[in-house]
């Protein structure tokens, strides 16, 4: 029996530079150039930015980065996401119920499928294909929530999205929820970085997340600028933070001091 072809389009593949190719999407596979990839082989996929261009990274043994025509990107992404090598569970999902510590009024329950790959959690619906990388997960907890006027047990996922800590909720039958919770806790523990932070480091991380400036951080923690710089270095070395700006410290030259003297004398 021959595979039904759903789509045929020119694409570019990234391999130390862009290479033109053709993508053929069929019932059971993707054919990219001369390479045939069975959909069952695809372990995960992700939207990535290469040279400022939005691409799809297909994760399998040997990842492939594909640049599609803009109008076809969402359609192909959705098709692959729904056909990933992972079990799917029917769920209701409340995406970004809280953002940055505040309840999001626009969040709404959506019906779809939840699936888990080795590197990410997926919520799939006709409108939405949301991927939460395991590395972005902060915690997984079961909790009772009011859903449509009834108290229901849900899975609360705390994760990072565009530099915000957000919580998303998963609602499904309790037996599925129990199984998902156990599985996710094990996966989460496996991915958890083995970094032990001191109390000061934990507090500095929290302050940076909250958007507190460095002078206030020094005051709140009660440390000097040099000590704060040492903490920053440790957080950067641990991969928990990145340098975005190196601040300049200056002192006045005699000419500068003389200028201040003139200013103060009016």
């Amino acid at each position: 029996m021959t595979d039904k072809v759903h789509l045929r389009t020119p694409v570019k593949i990234y391999a130390a530079g862009w290479v033109d190719a053709e993508l053929i999407v069929t019932d059971s596979s993707l054919i990219i150039g001369k390479q045939k990839i069975s959909l069952g082989e695809i372990e995960d996929l992700e939207d990535v930015d290469v040279d400022g261009i939005k691409c799809i990274q297909i994760k399998k043994e040997g990842n492939i980065i594909v640049q599609l025509p803009k109008n076809l990107h969402p359609q192909v992404f959705k098709y692959i996401a729904f056909n990933l090598k992972a079990d799917k569970f029917a769920v209701y999902f409340l995406s970004s119920a809280t953002v940055g510590g505040v309840v999001s009024s626009s969040a709404q329950w959506e019906k779809g499928y939840f699936s888990v790959t080795d590197e990410g959690l997926w919520f799939l619906s006709t409108k939405n294909q949301k991927r939460i990388p395991i590395d972005n997960l902060g915690s997984i907890k079961k909790d009772m929530r009011d859903v449509g006027g009834k108290q229901r047990m849900v899975l609360v996922l705390s994760h990072v999205e565009k530099s915000d800590v957000v919580t998303s909720l998963v609602l499904c039958p309790e037996s599925t929820l129990e199984m998902l919770d156990n599985y996710l806790q094990r996966l989460f523990a496996k991915h958890k970085p083995a970094i032990k932070l001191s109390e000061n480091e934990t507090q500095i991380l929290t302050l940076i997340y909250s958007g507190v400036d460095f002078v206030s951080i020094e005051n709140i923690i009660g440390i000097s600028t040099d000590e704060l710089n040492d903490y920053y270095d440790r957080l950067v070395d641990a991969g928990l933070a990145k340098v975005v700006k190196i601040r300049k410290e200056i002192e006045l030259t005699p000419r500068g001091v003389s200028m201040v003297d003139k200013i103060s004398k009016g």
């Binding site: 909790d143 919580t167 997340y209 958007g211 507190v212 206030s216």
Partner: protein
């Protein structure tokens, strides 16, 4: 200037909220490290808004909220809690809390929530 009473049992969280709110132009009327102190300070200071931690020694944030609301039914209290304590927060909302923020929080979102509650 809007007067805020900050209630949290950890000095670090009080300092963090103080830094965020002071930086946004709020007047920090006072700080309390438990619910009992919060109720006493509320009666004396009459702040425009209270940020209230939920889990605290001596008197919880929920009990402090009840006491404050019994003293001043128009009191504006914003509950401040950790992820996973939202069920308690629901109780607080029923008891008259005007809003809630969940730790960890970001300064602009906290300021927005407090301004919304005080009607600025």
């Amino acid at each position: 200037m809007t007067k805020v009473l900050i209630v949290d049992d950890t000095a670090f969280m009080r300092k963090l909220l103080k830094s965020i709110l002071f930086g946004a132009g709020f007047d920090i009327a006072g700080e309390a490290e438990n619910g009992k102190q919060a109720v006493e300070l509320y009666k004396g200071l009459k702040p425009d808004v209270v940020t209230m931690d939920v889990v605290m020694p001596e008197m919880t944030g929920i009990d402090a909220l009840k006491n404050i609301k019994a003293f001043d039914k128009d009191a504006k209290v914003v509950m401040c809690t950790a992820i996973g304590q939202e069920t308690i927060v629901k109780t607080a909302i029923k008891l008259g809390a005007r809003g809630y923020i969940i730790k960890p929080f970001q300064a602009p979102k906290v300021i927005e929530e407090i301004k919304k509650v005080v009607g600025e």
